[in-house]
């Protein structure tokens, strides 16, 4: 069996205590929530923190507050199962419930949290391997080495943002409340990310995600489609999040955000702009889907071939729009339900 490296586990009861512990131990410490991402990574020696600050005992991190009409606040420690099943979220932020319900497998959704999902490590199939494997092929710059095996000659890491909920939260206009030892701030979710496989988050290492804040949902509908080999278990290798505010039979405002095609969720603003003020006709959908595929620039470091993932961006955007427009041919068949 693969074993965890040794570490000290702290179990603070308050956010403040957790933030203080993180500040105290600096680079040696990491927070852990459900551990469904971090523990497997530690077994592979992608992270070797000496101190883990456990967030599971912190009450203020859990709970879902508010209503769709006035906006909602989701504690970062809320499990994905709870997010997926919450009636108010299902009714008003459908894509979020869908995305949370499509993460990995039922067991992992019972453990995994929304905060952990927003912060989930970027992935690459040269990197998500054991220490021995990575040593055999030659360590890459994301851990222990200084080159990139996917794009040799590149000075940056192209590991893939693999969160299902992040592109959806971005498309919904969510904000995050960050809490550190010396204070807190609220930033738009998109400001949390950076297109770099290693430093994919902009927050300070000592800052914790405390809440995810959703704006009022009135008039908005949303959809999320996920590409993966199997109906469960697998990370997304393409995610398509679409949120629309309709003005009568025309699109008032639109946001399209792609997941798993870059080191951060990637918006498709040209495609979204082309929707504004228009009726959702099949012709428009085709044109928008073509535009949305533009920013999709996958590399060969996940399951499926990257040309296929690019090609599917167009298909999935069209399907998401068709689903929202009530046209036939939207969505996919057998998707897992929470």
């Amino acid at each position: 069996m693969m074993r965890l490296p040794p570490f000290t586990y702290l179990a603070p009861r308050t956010l403040h205590a957790a933030a203080t512990a993180l500040a105290e131990h600096g680079a040696d410490a990491m927070p852990v929530a459900g551990g469904t991402d971090l523990f497997p990574n530690m077994k592979r020696r992608q992270f070797e923190p000496k101190v883990l600050v456990g967030l599971r005992g912190i009450r203020e991190l859990t709970g879902i507050r508010g209503r769709g009409r006035e906006g909602m606040t989701l504690g970062a420690g809320t499990t994905l199962s709870a997010v997926a099943a919450h009636p108010e979220i299902v009714a008003h932020y459908g894509a979020l419930a869908t995305a949370a319900g499509l993460v990995s497998s039922p067991q992992l959704r019972n453990m995994g949290t929304l905060g952990g999902n927003v912060c989930v490590d970027t992935r690459c199939n040269y990197y998500n391997q054991s220490h021995e494997w990575r040593k055999a092929i030659g360590f890459c710059m994301k851990k222990d080495g200084d080159i990139c095996l996917v794009a040799p000659g590149s000075s940056r890491c192209w590991a893939v943002s693999s969160s299902d909920t992040a592109p959806v939260l971005w498309s919904l206009g969510a904000r995050v409340r960050l809490v550190g030892a010396s204070g807190e701030r609220v930033v738009p979710l998109e400001a949390l990310y950076r297109d770099d496989g290693i430093q994919y988050l902009t927050k300070q290492p000592g800052e914790l995600v405390a809440d995810i804040v959703l704006p009022p949902a009135d008039g908005w509908t949303s959809a999320y489609l996920k590409l993966r080999r199997r109906g469960s278990f697998d990370f997304p290798v393409l995610g398509v999040a679409v949120a629309l505010r309709m003005d009568g039979d025309r699109v008032g405002e639109a946001r399209i955000v792609l997941g798993a095609v870059a080191s951060q969720p990637r918006p498709a603003p040209d495609a979204a702009a082309a929707l504004a003020g228009e009726r959702l006709t099949p012709e428009l959908i085709t044109r928008v889907a073509d535009l949305a595929a533009g920013p999709s620039k996958p590399l060969d470091n996940t399951d499926f071939t990257h040309p296929y993932r690019k090609k599917m961006t167009r298909v999935f955007v069209a399907r998401a729009l068709r689903a929202l427009a009530g046209l036939p041919g939207g969505g996919r068949a057998a998707e897992e339900v929470a």
Binding site: M1, M2, R3, P6, N125, N128, Q129, S130, E132, W133, K135, A136, I137, L149, R229, R230, G231, S232, F233, D234, F235, D303, F304, T305, P307, Y308, K311, M312, V315, G329, A333, A334, E336
Partner: protein
């Protein structure tokens, strides 16, 4: 016997170990914890091919908590291998590593963490050599040799057999097709990772508990590897959490655990990680195939010529047998008057391939069944009807001298054709898909059919001998309980349960009254192991023989007591008596007491060896089996033309089981086979990149989940074969075989794309659709075959159609 005469046989009983497994009571090898036990770990090579220049273990030895560190120098300098003709492995490599994952050193320590740290402190000096990662590369670089032995540079085995004049048959055919196929390698993926615990005791003896499918072969090889007498070694197969052929060789972790235990005087456990299991492998060979078949207008096969190239990986393993198996079973299904087979197994720097479920036969089955589909289309025939017309004849010999007894394939085809609504769907949807090229992209439905045959136990052991292949000792005493000792290994297929059902049936008691002690070389008579679908038939026959002998002695004692003829006695409901004076019947316990008093200790043996039917030519020993099982399968699926994704809706599968000793277990085996076949057809691939396994984890190696598994409708066809225990044949492997070709044929039916390669990915289907849109041939698959000279074929007369004996004389019958 007819079905009504049985009381246990034919009942859908739960397995005798079902409860223990469900509640987590079963103790697998990794659940063994012995006092003072140390934890071992192997250091494995990071190079695909390299000379070992030096190994320095001094820093590892100095680490506190480390008990011992060994290298190949601590073991006798002998090479071993499961087959006598391929002795090419070392537990810990001494001079050269041939794949990433080859073991070079081993550590025993106080815990796993320390063992892991110690491994990182071992310094190995390697001189890397070029790696050969494909059949083409291995053949193109004879100057880089992975092994020094074999039938040519990097050619492990080269075989060529010809039964009759195939060229003449092709010349006289109405249609001759040549096709090229590729079947990617894949692995077993058992839930239980390999683990072993070895305990060398102060008396100089050694016990090994291991998750092995073949304690006997491990027991045979250890003496030479460890240089100690077999009589001082005990090998116990712990309950095996899935094998599928991946636990059939002696492995480095087992041998290292033994040596480390001898050196430390402590029990030593080595439990492999999932990644290591991918390196242990011995899974499905990647096989490139060229197949040429002649047909008459009516669809009869006139002759067939098959060439196979197997990517064997770094070691021999069962590879010589695998090579033969890619050729020898195909003629068992349909009338095939003349046949030529050429096969070559090539060494590469990948984990060694070996006997995965269906051993060597799913690949040529895929080729043949896809080719039949193409031929049927060209000839304007319904592929189901065409197959039903050309079935092999029962009780005849095949071109390659295999004896076929009962054949239930005709009924199997009928059952799946009826249940699936084949006729309407195949005709109706075909006209729809024919016009689909202009219709907008959408989801299209299709159906596909395929059939197959598989053996029920290899007719010869892997080493030449004339001893039993399976033995049972049956003991009864005044408690009324019966104990079965048998070397058979339950790998989840249910052999322990079979060993309870059969004596219970013969003795008229309940399976619960039977205590089964399996797979312990000190305790149980030899059974060769759980492979080649041999166990139910062979240990079943031995168990019936032993139970019959016990029954005879009990009957004599009861007959004396009741003053009736022994032949008039019936054994049922835990009683022994004359049926029309049942009120006078004795309880089974009373009957045993009488017999024990009259006879002394009641212990009886049963032995089984298959009929000697090997063809009288070199290579004729691979392929003969007491009897063959048959399967037919219809798949219904839809293909998404925008994404290339395949969604399976239903699988109808009928299996000629001879007799279902327990229909629940048979259905379980059939469903498991279908599931595994789906994985091989649509996603599983043991693939490599930059010399390394690309995805050695259960997350990244894609195997279907329940969500990808369609409704499976299983039909059991009973032919009551005279060779099998109460007429039974195998169920564990055969039903996998028709699944991949039926899926490929259904995809063609749905969207007109021929995928001549598995796994069939969405990308391949989109490529085929693109070709079709451009008006080109919508075929995706290998284009070329290697330039390779097979050896001169051994010419043997075709035995096709000769009458064969119903039951040949079996040894150990009297």
């Amino acid at each position: 016997m007819t079905k009504q005469d049985f009381s246990i046989i034919g009942q859908p009983l739960p397995k005798i170990d079902a409860w223990a497994k469900v509640v987590g009571e079963t103790k697998y090898a990794d659940d063994f914890f012995l006092p003072r036990m140390a934890y071992g770990r192997l250091l494995r090579s990071p190079h695909g091919h390299a000379l070992i220049k030096s190994i320095d273990v001094s820093r590892a030895r100095e680490l506190p908590g480390v008990y011992a560190v060994i290298t190949g120098a601590d073991l006798p300098r002998v090479k071993f291998g499961i087959l006598p003709v391929s002795q090419d492995e070392e537990a810990l490599c001494t001079e050269k590593v041939r794949m990433v994952g080859d073991a070079v050193a081993a550590v025993a320590a106080v815990d796993e963490e320390t063992a892991e740290r110690a491994c990182r402190l071992i310094e190995v000096g390697y001189e890397p050599l070029p790696t050969l990662m494909s059949i083409e590369a291995a053949l193109a670089h004879p100057e880089i040799r992975i092994h020094e032995y074999g039938d040519g540079p990097n050619v492990h085995k080269n075989v060529a057999l010809q039964f009759g004049d195939v060229e003449a048959a092709f010349a006289a055919s109405d249609l001759v097709r040549e096709d090229v196929f590729f079947y990617e390698g894949n692995t077993h993926l058992p839930m239980e990772q390999h683990a072993a615990v070895a305990h060398a005791t102060p008396d100089g003896k050694l016990t090994l508990w291991s998750s092995t499918q073949t304690p006997h072969y491990v027991h045979r090889l250890l003496p030479r590897i460890l240089d100690m007498p077999a009589a001082h070694i005990r090998v116990v197969a712990a309950p095996v959490g899935g094998g599928f052929g991946g636990k059939l060789d002696p492995f480095a972790h087992e041998i290292a655990a033994c040596r480390l235990s001898q050196l430390t005087g402590r029990p030593v456990k080595i439990a492999c990680s999932r990644e290591e299991v991918f390196y242990i492998h011995r899974g499905r060979h990647p096989v490139l195939m060229w197949i040429k078949t002649g047909f008459t207008k009516a669809g009869d096969i006139t002759g067939c010529h098959l060439k196979t190239w197997l990517d064997g990986g770094a070691y021999g393993s069962y590879g010589v047998a695998s090579t033969f198996y890619t050729g020898v079973i195909n003629p068992v299904t349909y009338k095939m008057p003349v046949y030529k087979f050429e096969g070559a197994r090539v060494f590469t720097n990948k984990p060694p391939c070996g006997p995965k479920r269906g051993h060597g036969t799913p690949q040529p089955r895929f080729a043949l069944e896809c080719q039949l589909d193409k031929a049927a289309e060209q000839l304007g025939l319904d592929p189901a009807e065409m197959r039903a017309r050309i079935l092999a004849e029962p009780y005849t010999k095949t071109a390659n001298h295999l004896t076929v007894t009962t054949i239930g394939l005709g009924e199997c085809i009928d059952r799946v054709v009826e249940a699936s609504g084949w006729r309407e769907k195949w005709r109706g949807w075909r006209s729809a898909s024919a016009g689909a090229s202009t219709a907008p992209a959408g989801k299209r439905r299709g159906v596909g059919i395929a059939a197959s045959a598989y053996m029920t136990g290899a007719g010869t052991a892997i080493y030449w001998n004339s001893m039993p292949h399976s033995g049972v000792v049956l003991r009864a005493d005044r408690s009324g309980g019966v104990t079965v000792l048998c070397g058979a290994t339950d790998i989840g297929q249910g052999s322990d349960s079979i060993l309870a059902y059969l004596p219970a049936e013969v003795l008229g008691i309940e399976p619960k009254d039977v205590h089964v002690h399996p797979a312990d070389t000190s305790l149980t008579p030899v059974d060769l192991g759980s492979y080649s679908s041999r166990v139910t038939l062979m240990c079943g026959m031995a168990a019936i023989q032993a139970a019959g002998r016990l029954r005879g002695v009990i009957a004599q004692a009861v007959a004396e007591k009741l003053e009736v003829a022994a032949e008039s006695l019936a054994f049922r409901d835990r009683k022994v008596g004359v049926p029309d004076q049942w009120e006078r019947a004795l309880t089974f316990t009373q009957a045993v007491e009488l017999a024990e008093a009259r006879h002394g200790v009641l212990a009886f043996a049963g032995s089984y060896a298959p009929p000697k039917r090997a063809g009288k030519y070199k290579g004729g020993g691979v392929g003969p089996s007491p009897c063959y099982s048959y399967s037919a399968c219809v798949v219904e699926l839809s293909v998404d033309e925008e994404t290339g994704e395949v969604e399976l809706h239903d699988v109808w599968i009928a299996h000629d089981i001879g007799r279902a000793l327990n229909p629940l277990l048979v259905e379980g085996q059939v469903e498991g086979s279908v599931y595994m076949g789906i994985g091989e057809a649509l996603m599983e691939g043991q693939v490599f990149r930059k010399g390394l396994h690309k995805q050695p984890s259960m997350l990244d190696y894609k195997s279907p989940t329940t969500l990808e598994t369609p409704d499976i409708h299983t039909f059991l066809v009973e032919t009551d074969d005279p060779e099998g225990p109460f007429g039974a044949k195998e169920a564990g492997q055969g039903p996998l075989l028709p699944v991949p070709p039926a899926i490929a044929n259904a995809i063609y039916h749905a969207v007109g794309v021929r995928c001549d390669e598995v796994p069939i990915t969405p990308e391949m289907i989109l490529k085929g659709l693109e070709l079709r849109r451009k008006g080109k041939s919508a075929r995706v698959g290998p284009e070329k075959i290697p330039l390779f000279k097979f050896k001169e074929a051994l010419m043997v007369e075709s035995a096709f159609g000769r009458p064969a004996d119903a039951v040949a004389v079996r040894p150990f019958q009297s």
